[in-house]
């Protein structure tokens, strides 16, 4: 029997690790992630979770320990945020090159300085070139469900890559919502024990990661790209199986009233949930608005995005992140996805909510209004005290 529990996003992440029966956890505390590791420590110490928990001295070491453990064949989990994720950067590349299917929760927090603890996606989007798969959740239920789904994808023989489950600081991490819990045995049927394709094994002693010349390094990178391409169908299978077993449906993207929409807003994370209300309000006023939420940012769901946006007359992209010198990151990606398409609808890029400032339904209303007046060549800053 599945039961309901009211929990914050951070605990949804911890329970996601529990239901995935992780073998090794290694983590370092950082606001706003602390409740994730506190709950996991408690569950490990009272026997509810049968895992080793390595309480490391830094996030760099947290990721390094996960990689080592994963290379032996353990299912490994960690969680971090912002500065911690940035400190891990080198090892994020290492996890990909070593093809270790680690799953990590990242609580989106703005980067310092100045010191800040509030939500923004620049931390995780800055890591998009490392080769990690990235899932952006928009509810605590989705956070919880995404952990076993992430392991299933990560450990798939055709993927063998690490996956990041990303959630907004405070808007999810510290906000309580109802979460339907999975039955542990049923979850194990969905996600059986990890059987690695390659591992460090004294009975079959091999060396991993030796100096590789240009003769083969190039092909190893090619294989990582291919694994991302393979991941698309693996994700679809994993999520369809999840739906069959647990009744909850997830896609590569989430579409909301897009079928007949003239103007489609593209967003990720909780800003997309807020945007649903705005879309409803606009629809009442007769505006044919729609929403496209990217659940996966890596692999980038090109096919889905192109399909959904194929008949839009205007495409608006909301970015709670900034790549200084070019603008919003998702904006760039949507433009690149649409460039060779027959639909040449203008694509507008909006920056909003940096440093955790609220993105309200009013903000999103204003975005739809601004699109009527603005030149898509500009980076459009919402509510900035310019």
């Amino acid at each position: 029997m599945s039961k309901q529990k009211v929990m914050m996003g951070n605990h949804a992440l911890s329970y996601g690790a529990v239901v995935s029966k992780v073998n090794v956890i290694s983590a370092y505390p950082i606001t706003p992630q602390t409740q994730v590791v506190e709950l996991l420590s408690e569950l490990c110490s009272n026997g509810a979770l049968d895992s080793e928990f390595i309480k490391v001295e830094s996030e760099h070491s947290a990721m390094a320990a996960c990689i080592g453990a994963s290379a032996v064949g353990a299912r490994t989990f960690t969680a971090t945020s912002a500065q911690g994720l940035a400190l891990m950067h080198e090892m994020l590349h290492w996890a990909v090159g070593a093809r270790t299917p680690v799953v990590m929760g990242n609580i989106n927090r703005s980067m310092g300085p100045p010191w800040t603890i509030w939500s923004e996606q620049t931390d995780s989007l800055s890591q998009r070139d490392t080769g990690w798969l990235q899932i952006y959740a928009s509810s605590n239920q989705e956070v919880y469900d995404s952990v076993p789904i992430a392991f299933k994808i990560a450990e798939h023989k055709k993927v063998q890559l690490p996956v990041m489950v990303v959630l907004d600081a405070f808007f999810l991490s510290h906000t309580s919502e109802n979460v339907m819990m999975m039955d542990l045995d049923k979850a194990e049927t969905y996600l059986p024990k990890y059987k690695p394709k390659h591992k460090l094994d004294v009975n079959e002693p091999y060396t991993f990661g030796a100096l590789t010349t240009p003769e083969w390094y190039y092909e190893l990178r090619y294989k990582i790209q291919k694994a991302h391409e393979n991941a698309i169908s693996v994700i679809e299978e994993a999520q369809s199986e999840f739906k069959d077993m647990f009744g909850r449906e997830y896609g590569l993207v989430e579409e909301y009233k897009t079928a007949d929409a003239d103007t489609i807003l593209v967003a990720i994370s909780t800003a997309a949930s807020t945007a649903k209300d705005t879309v409803d309000e606009l629809r009442e006023k007769g505006v044919k608005a729609g929403l496209l939420r990217l659940r996966f940012v890596r692999p980038f769901p090109f096919k889905k995005v192109r399909e959904v946006l194929s008949s839009a007359k205007k495409i608006l992209v909301l970015d709670r992140n900034l790549s200084p010198g070019i603008g919003g990151i998702i904006f760039q990606e949507i433009k690149s996805a649409m460039y060779n398409e027959s639909n040449k609808a203008p694509i507008y890029g909006f920056i909003a909510g940096l440093g955790g400032r609220d993105i309200t339904t009013e903000t999103i209303h204003n975005i739809f209004e601004e699109a009527e007046k603005q030149d898509p060549k500009n980076i459009i800053w919402m509510e900035v005290k310019a």
């Binding site: 490391v56 760099h60 070491s61 320990a65 080592g68 004294v202 060396t207 030796a210």
Partner: protein, 295 residues
């Protein structure tokens, strides 16, 4: 032939170490004794090259290459995984150079030691960044030439006292070892195998190209380092109980005997050598006192 250390070889010939490499011999002795039930972790160090390019390897046990500063904690992760999904009796071994230990890897090393993770950590110390072309590290002795401490500005500060740092972690076992004394090294390894917790080995490993020495003198230099009391062979248990194994005599050989075989000390003046001798004597006397009060 008489075999005074285990006969089985767990290192393949054909590895890429330079002629007379102390670090290569150190690995050979270590693996012989720890045996096949061992998983190795190497950070960036000479051994990342010595081991050979993909798809080859010089070691007969599993090996994971990792980033420069992560040897200790990757070995911690490996041990944690072995406890859950493998054989908990498998040795998890971090094998790093002095740069990866004294400098960039010291944070993760301190973390694994403080948690007393059940693993071995070996530093094969050749007293500089040899793999990148002989740049100074915090393990380079005062006065030595390297490519970043030229002879008119040789290293101005003494070698970092890694043993004191590790002893301060109160880990169950610390030992120094030398490739010139393989029987002492294997005895300590056998002893360490029986100890649960963090085991730290500091191995003195001469580097002929980096020290501007003749490859044939590798063993002679390692022996002289012990005989001059520059690198005494010792054990520290629980961070407190000191035992000096060698040299036993209070009067060691003069440090000059050791220095004159190496181009990296060629520029030293009489006074510099005198100062070095005083430094060595003082340090050894301090060890003697620590040994006395801890017995």
């Amino acid at each position: 032939m008489k075999y005074t250390i285990p006969k089985e070889e767990l290192v393949h010939p054909g590895h890429l170490a330079c002629q007379g490499c102390g670090g290569a011999l150190a690995m050979r002795i270590m693996l012989k004794t720890l045996g096949k039930n061992t998983i190795l972790t190497f950070p960036a160090c000479c051994w990342s090259v010595i081991d050979g390019p993909f798809p080859y390897s010089a070691v007969k046990v599993p090996l994971f290459h990792t980033a420069f500063e992560t040897a200790a904690v990757v070995a911690s992760g490996i041990k944690a995984a072995l406890n859950r999904v493998g054989d908990p009796k498998t040795n998890s071994v971090a094998w790093a150079g002095d740069g990866g230990t004294f400098d960039i890897g010291i944070q993760a090393l301190s973390g694994s030691a403080e948690r007393n993770d059940d693993m071995f950590y070996f530093v094969y110390d050749n007293e500089a960044y040899m793999n990148t072309g002989i740049q100074r590290s915090s393990a380079t002795p005062k006065g030595a030439w390297t490519t970043t401490t030229p002879v008119n500005h040789p290293k101005a500060t003494p070698k970092k006292d890694i043993l004191a740092i590790m002893a301060a972690h109160k880990i169950p076992y610390i030992a120094t070892a030398s490739i010139a004394y393989p029987e002492d090294f294997t005895r300590k390894l056998e002893k360490a195998k029986e100890i649960k917790g963090f085991k730290f080995f500091h191995i003195f490993a001469p580097c002929p190209p980096g020290w501007r020495a003749n490859p044939k003198d590798t063993i002679t230099l390692a022996k002289l380092a012990v005989e001059t009391k520059l690198f005494p062979l010792l054990e520290i248990e629980d961070g407190e109980k000191y035992t000096i194994n060698l040299p036993k005599k209070d009067k060691g050989k003069p440090i000059e005997d050791y220095l004159k075989l190496q181009g990296r000390f060629k520029h030293l003046k009489e006074n510099d050598i005198k100062e070095m001798q005083t430094f060595i004597d003082k340090k050894y006397n301090r060890l003697k006192i620590l040994e006395e009060i801890s017995q």
